[in-house]
Symmetry: C2
């Protein structure tokens, strides 16, 4: 059900995107996670806190929770939200089927929220019956959705050895200290400093102890857990160089970027379903060739949709983009069947699924009017199920050169429909 190698869209550099990582063993410790999500999102400029902003229709925090919950060696996920967002968070957990998730009320500051999260693992806490206390606790920001198993594994293993560990990144800008009158005092040597990022991991008892001992000033004005571990538990955390995609959604354009990255990942695999009739199969073959220039993985299924026993199994894989090729414009019965099958896989709960109904024909002979109406109607209906249905008419030309050109144009249109996943265009009949 997940994009290959990435719970929420792999955000690495160009060549790394979407490739499945190496299989990883579980760390030999019990692990749970706390996600502080009490922020107000002031820097974003909008009224919705950034963790609840929709990306492809789903709140950002759901991507982060999903990225953690798909790692089976993390037992519990505690999400700490401000009191006014408890109900919102509950409905997110319900709607997207998040498992092993406990919602806890946050404090007024980030540190107070994390502290509340830790308390849920301790007997006699005021929030819930205590969760099983883990040896290692991971702390991760709700607004860093692109966290991979690899870095989580590394910080957990380092925390087991050193007591605490955290992901770091090189500084993008020089850091400077200012005088009291707003002038440069000194600049730091970029090579000697790092940006502290998330995830971080701690021996549970050590970080819990640090929170119990630290001052109100720490709880109110501090932000850095590694600092508390150093000051109150005398632990020099191990610093782990993390991938660039650990970046934190902070500003409006970070949401744009997250949107593009997620679309990029879930568009890397396309499934072409053709009728068993010869024309359609041949066209499917041609389209397959062309699509390979645009996306990484193209799967072909030549199948009679009326005998769909194994189609559901195939779709249970990791495919959010389907192309269905037919050689007549009129019948929507098959598309309806496909929608039913898709619904059973519940793929569209997490991501909008693109379904492109491709027709072959001769433009001069085509009569679009009634088809447009039927397509629009069906598209409107399935959009409610998060399935985005588009129509594409491919002009069938015997002339081989022109056919190549038409197929290039078809592949380009399909690629854009898949990448953009734009709900406004559903029900439109494009022509290649």
């Amino acid at each position: 059900m997940e994009p290959p190698g990435a719970g929420v869209g792999k955000a690495g550099d160009f060549d790394a995107a979407g490739e499945p990582g190496p299989p990883r063993r579980s760390p030999p410790v019990s692990v749970a996670a706390v996600l502080p999500a009490g922020g107000s999102g002031e820097r974003l400029g909008g009224s919705t806190p950034k963790q609840f902003c929709p990306v492809l229709g789903r709140p950002l925090i759901s991507y982060t929770v999903r990225a953690i919950e798909r790692i089976n060696w993390i037992s519990d996920i505690v999400v700490v939200v401000s009191p006014e967002n408890i109900e919102t968070m509950k409905s997110i957990v319900r709607k997207y089927g998040h498992e092993r998730t406990t919602i806890v009320e946050g404090g007024l500051t980030r540190h107070r929220s994390i502290f509340n999260g830790l308390k849920t693992f301790v007997k006699g806490n005021t929030f819930c019956s205590p969760l099983q206390k883990p040896e290692i606790i991971v702390i991760h920001d709700a607004v860093r959705p692109f966290v991979e198993e690899d870095i989580l594994f590394k910080v957990v293993m380092a925390a087991k050895e050193h007591g605490a560990a955290g992901a770091i990144r090189p500084l993008v800008s020089t850091v400077i200290a200012s005088t009291t009158d707003g002038c440069l005092d000194h600049s730091l040597d970029r090579a000697k400093y790092r940006a502290s990022e998330m995830p971080q991991a701690f021996l549970f008892d050590k970080i819990h102890q640090a929170y119990l001992q630290c001052s109100d000033y720490d709880l109110d004005y501090g932000t850095e857990c590694l600092h508390l571990a150093l000051n109150y538990s005398k632990i020099n955390a191990k610093l782990i160089e993390g991938p660039s995609d650990l970046w934190k959604v902070t500003y409006k354009w970070d949401l744009f970027a997250a949107d593009c990255l997620i679309k990029d990942t879930i568009s890397q695999e396309v499934c072409i379903i053709t009728d068993i009739k010869e024309d359609a199969v041949q066209m499917g073959f041609l389209l397959h060739e062309k699509m390979r220039n645009h996306v990484k993985h193209v799967k072909d299924i030549a199948v009679s949709l009326h005998k769909n026993d194994n189609l559901q199994n195939i779709l249970l894989g990791q495919c959010y983009s389907l192309i269905c090729i037919k050689n007549k414009l009129s019948s929507f019965e098959e598309i309806s069947q496909l929608v039913d099958i898709l619904e059973n896989t519940s793929a569209s709960v997490l991501y909008p699924v693109v379904l492109i109904s491709v027709y072959l024909g001769i433009l001069e002979n085509a009569s679009f009017n009634s088809e447009i109406e039927s397509l629009t109607k069906l598209a409107k209906e399935v959009k409610k199920k998060n399935i985005l249905l588009y129509g594409l008419f491919i002009q069938y030309k015997k002339d081989n050169l022109k056919l190549q050109e038409t197929m290039d144009s078809a592949a380009a249109l399909i690629t854009v429909l898949i990448r953009e996943r734009n709900p406004a265009f559903v029900g439109q009949l494009l022509v290649a």
Copy 2:
């Protein structure tokens, strides 16, 4: 020819986007600018250096140059590029009509490139006949395209008073120092430090003197001009809090974000052109009402396209999105005329211009086939001129309730076409 208040797309917070800033007087000093653009873009992961990556088809650096050159009190713009990119940069300057721009060969490091840039203002330099030496020199990164006149004015004025000044931003992450074995040594108090950003400005003689005096180590391993000014010219630069959109395009997703921000800005103004026939005017009025829910500024022009004396003047304003409403499907003559007018304004040199040809009609009576072919053909042709032509058929319904619904759908489609500016969809005929 520019989007309101923003040379390249205002990237501020939600409420600030696209609003024209207050008119500003020129600073009472002579000012020139140096843009170091020699970077290799390793962090981006691609082979093209990030400053040359296309955004809406135009290299990123062109947006930055444009942002500086539209400020009339900056006399010269020196762009410093690595030797292998001199020709690329020359062709960018030619193609996008950049004025007051001098291209200089960079050194192996950032500081050496900036130094080369400064030398162009000094007699006897090896690059060119010397440019007029300014009192104040602005240094700005080629990969920060969203720089506004306001912050440039502030750093220039502060540099005049203090000798040097630079834009700063709050730190997004905590900064930490590591021990030699990769563990946490200490973390910095986020409140006491700032990220040093660009633009920066200096008294020319002071920064030039600093570069003449500094060590080879500084030139090879340093990055911070403010640091050189402090060390070699004993100037404590004034630090100016800059807007959030000064951010530097560093990673792949920063390009996604820049793309979205620029599209967002140039889509804030829409011009509706209607035939003077009553049906079209009325539909234009309805569409105007609906579009106001989606974009900030909607201009109406009811005009006979055959008498287009004043249309060109109107289009010479700041509009990259045009909707042309007609009450028959067949005639493309008027669209061709509009394209000619658009070409004369040369708006499409800097940004792709969206032109949506809207037809009114009754779906049952329509025959699309020949129209689709003509539309596709014309669209293909004008795409070469960076004009993106789309067709939209609005079903005319007498029933008032249904008409409202249709117009809502039309406005939604138009909004998406304008915002996405997707070249793949040109020549398509959408139906609302």
